[in-house]
């Protein structure tokens, strides 16, 4: 159709022949030979394999790189068809067809990298990229092909594609919703979890603003402002869990936790956000907080109740106790023995109940009254306790001794009560003989003061060591030792409110040593 095309085809001659004919002593040809030898130098210096082909597809020239790359000797290639080494896609490009001339066909290829498959002498194939350029010669237009082995690059590309698919796999496998956002706040990638969590189809979210699903706090974090660059803005967020609110397609909102990580890409740094629905956790947290509040209130109510109940119970009981005592006294000897016995039981019951209520009141008071923590002399507190116990000490003939005692951080009234209860117990639970009680204090490993109240009394079986500190726990019959079983419970409550610990070391018949710890005051005593 195009006359030039046909003409070119007609004058086609073998370049190998032309090169052989270079020996002819002709000025023009000599010039060409010079040119060709110069060209040859360039050819050999090129880092790529270079093959010059005529329009018939025959190889007319090649360089050392080409020999190496294809595994042929030069003479095995010269004059051979280029299809031997590049089976498909090269020769065809040089040929004019019904649509274009050879020049046009060639012009379309010039300068662009064409990826093809090359074949070595041993038949193995490898990926190449060829760059074509025209070379005018006496025999017409030749084509120089720079052939680059792109095996390495192809491997890289394959690797990259694998990486991408792997990354996508990771993205889809992630248990959290994952959304990748660019710095403009547009969603560029998301996983199935994200679709589910926000109730959108993938195509409804891709390219949309992330603000649609996370209205506040995310997009803002990606932006540079006057104080920081985009990179800094992002760097500040990376890896930290950010609690925000997500919005579903239906408009409903739910609490989320966001973890951001940067993702380098051709379009700049992207941000991968792992989004976790924390509704359950939030609800659990709120529930727990509510429970703690309720527990605190119920505990407070209980202490208030114990206080007021024991206080109000005391009033009518005071009447019962007082009048039965009055009755017993006024009518002593005037009633029969049955009546006197009945009255005696009533008096005894009422006064025991009074003691119980008073102890219970004291116990609840330890909890309900505020603590007045001051630096006080524990020795002073012990002295006060001993004054309060003077009657009991004198009655029992007990000898109470003590070492010098330190200053401590404590509520003085409560410390007096603590010593009083422990010393009273030491005197009370005695075998025949002189009760000996000794109080001492020493620093323990935690730098706290450890107090000891040691007696030579009955001692306690180790199986009861825990129980004796419980409320209403008694080890003896009322006929042996009167008591309400509250004294040591009060001790425990006092010590624990001071951040200390109370325990006993003892054995039956060995006496007992009650120990408790208290925080030392800052000033050394």
């Amino acid at each position: 159709m195009r006359p030039e095309g046909r003409k070119t085809k007609a004058v086609r001659s073998s370049p190998t022949v032309a090169i052989r004919d270079l020996s002819r002593p002709d000025a023009a040809e000599k010039h060409l030979a010079q040119m060709e030898s110069k060209y040859h130098g360039l050819l050999e210096a090129a880092p790529d394999a270079m093959v010059v082909v005529n329009q018939g597809g025959d190889i007319v020239l090649l360089n050392l790189q080409a020999e190496k790359q294809f595994g042929y000797r030069r003479d095995e290639l010269l004059g051979q068809k280029v299809t031997n080494i590049i089976p498909v896609g090269f020769a065809e490009r040089l040929i004019a067809d019904d649509l274009r001339s050879t020049e046009d066909a060639l012009a379309q290829q010039i300068g662009t990298g064409i990826e093809l498959i090359a074949r070595r002498k041993d038949g193995s194939e490898f990926p190449i990229e060829i760059m074509l350029s025209p070379l005018e010669s006496a025999e017409g237009i030749l084509v120089t092909a720079a052939i680059r082995d792109i095996s390495a690059r192809k491997t890289d590309e394959k690797h990259l594609a694998q990486m991408e698919s792997k990354y996508r796999g990771l993205l889809e496998a992630a248990p959290d919703a994952m959304v990748v956002v660019n710095q403009g706040g547009d969603i560029v990638l998301l996983n199935l979890q994200a679709e589910k969590q926000f109730g959108y189809r993938r195509d409804e979210l891709l390219g949309q603003k992330v603000k649609n699903i996370i209205p506040e706090g995310f997009a803002e974090r990606l932006l540079a402002d006057r104080l920081r660059s985009a990179d800094d803005a992002l760097a500040q967020q990376i890896g930290t869990g950010i609690e925000l609110t997500g919005r579903r397609k239906d408009g409903s909102e739910f609490p989320i936790e966001l973890m951001l990580s940067p993702l380098e890409s051709a379009e700049g740094i992207l941000v991968t956000a792992a989004i976790r629905d924390i509704s359950v956790r939030k609800a659990a947290e709120a529930n727990l907080l509510q429970k703690v509040k309720e527990l605190y209130r119920s505990n407070e109510e209980l202490e208030q109740f114990a206080y007021f109940a024991s206080h109000d119970l005391q009033e009518p009981l005071r009447m019962v106790a007082s009048y039965t005592q009055l009755l017993a006294r006024r009518y002593k000897g005037k009633l029969d023995t049955d009546a006197e016995e009945f009255i005696a039981f009533a008096v005894d019951g009422a006064s025991r109940m009074q003691r119980l209520i008073q102890d219970l009141l004291a116990y609840s008071r330890v909890g309900s009254k505020g603590m007045n923590l001051l630096e006080i002399s524990s020795e002073g507190a012990l002295q006060q306790a001993l004054v309060n116990l003077r009657g009991a000490v004198e009655e029992s003939g007990a000898v109470v001794t003590h070492d010098p005692l330190p200053a401590v951080l404590a509520d003085e009234m409560q410390l007096v009560q603590l010593f009083q209860n422990l010393v009273a117990n030491a005197i009370k639970y005695q075998k025949p003989g002189v009760p000996l009680v000794h109080i001492s204090a020493a620093r323990n490993v935690e730098k706290k003061w450890q107090f000891s109240v040691r007696d030579n009394g009955l001692g306690i079986d180790p199986q009861y060591f825990e129980r004796i500190f419980g409320l209403f726990q008694r080890l003896h019959k009322r006929e042996e030792f009167a008591g309400t079983g509250i004294g040591l419970a009060i001790c425990k409550k006092i010590v624990e409110r001071h951040g200390g610990r109370v325990w006993v070391e003892s054995g039956p018949g060995q006496g007992s040593t009650f120990r408790f710890t208290l925080a030392a005051s800052k000033v050394k005593s």
Binding site: Q314, E315, L317, R318, M319, A321, S322, Y323, Q325, L326, S351, Q354, Q358
Partner: protein
């Protein structure tokens, strides 16, 4: 001359107990009882049925009373030029610090807790008798001025 005591107390049990305790402590005391604050003020001001009421030597005043409570009664007594010289003893079960402080601010002459045990109560009444009705010099009963 028997000592006149005004007991302001709403609990009949406590009234009787106090009467019994005073009877044992001093047979010569005359215990008058007002069951609430309004009646106490009427007695002191010799109003209504109390026109012939004697002026008490001391007043034993409970704090928690119906109608007008003990704190108000105390305030009125101590603001009254005629009545304020009568020693007014607070006798209550309240151990609250606020009540103790408030009572003294209103010029109570002393603050006493009702003991829980009867023997302790008896001994308290005995102390009151020994101190306020025996050792203490009281102002003359007839209003001065």
């Amino acid at each position: 001359m028997p000592k006149e005591i005004l007991l302001v107390e709403d609990s009949p049990g406590d009234v009787r107990l106090t009467q019994e305790a005073f009877r044992d402590a001093n047979g010569l005391t005359q215990l008058h009882v007002a069951a609430d604050g309004v009646e106490a003020m009427a007695f002191l001001k010799q109003e209504g049925t109390h026109v012939h009421a004697p002026r008490p030597d001391i007043i034993l005043l409970d704090l928690n009373l119906p109608k007008m409570d003990g704190r108000q009664v105390l305030a009125q007594i101590k603001q009254d030029d005629d009545l304020k010289t009568i020693p007014t003893l607070i006798l209550t079960t309240s151990e609250a610090e606020a009540d103790i402080v408030k009572s003294y601010r209103l010029y109570a002459n002393c603050y006493l807790n009702k003991p829980v045990r009867f023997d302790a109560f008896e001994s308290l009444v005995k102390s009151i008798n020994d101190f306020w009705l025996t050792k203490v010099k009281l102002p003359p009963r007839a209003p001065s001025g």
